[in-house]
Amino acid sequence: LAKTTQPISMDSYEGQEVNITCSHNNIATNDYITWYQQFPSQGPRFIIQGYKTKVTNEVASLFIPADRKSSTLSLPRVSLSDTAVYYCLVGGGIYGGATNKLIFGTGTLLAVQP
């Protein structure tokens, strides 16, 4: 089972770019990499998903090297409202009864200061 490792916490200031790296050495061939954001007392919210190389949406970018053993979530120009816990999730592949357990990392608490 692919487990993930992330920093427990990170600090940043408003307007900076923040990069959060996740290690997943045992990622399987059909695993996707997904990042979620969670605010206190709320369920996690999907941010971005990728399989390899780079993915970008209106919120973030996801960089995945060729070996896929790690990934980096990049948040451009963070604001105070980006203060949250960010989870790296590796897995998926639930098709037709086949099961791959989905494992959340412990999450990274990003604290954005003025």
Binding site: R45, F46, L102, I103
Partner: protein, 111 residues
């Protein structure tokens, strides 16, 4: 927008009671999940279901059971609640893309 709803935001029960947590999704998703979240432990998967009447154990199924009689509804059952089941319970659903959509969570306290 995908909507996942959970029957209660806050719930207080006594030790030994039978507890039902209900989750409903409105996107015709095949897959549904139950997690619990505790400080310092992140999200841990209890059970998931990939079809009606189908279920698979997650990482911590002990003390829990689930029911999926209809595609849109996934219930988590605590047969005899214990204090160590005090936690935040999160339900999620996903379709073919593996992206999971979460409900707001139920904070359960067992006294």
């Amino acid at each position: 927008d995908v909507k996942v709803t959970q029957s209660s935001r806050y719930l207080v029960k006594r030790t030994g009671e039978k507890v039902f947590l209900e989750c409903v999704q409105d996107m015709d998703h095949e897959n549904m999940f139950w997690y619990r979240q505790d400080p310092g432990l992140g999200l841990r998967l209890i059970y998931f279901s990939y079809d009606v009447k189908m279920k698979e154990k997650g990482d911590i199924p002990e003390g829990y059971s689930v029911s999926r009689e209809k595609k849109e509804r996934f219930s988590l059952i605590l047969e005899s609640a214990s204090t160590n089941q005090t936690s935040m319970y999160l339900c999620a659903s996903s379709g073919s893309t593996d992206t999971q959509y979460f409900g707001p969570g139920t904070r359960l306290t067992v006294l």
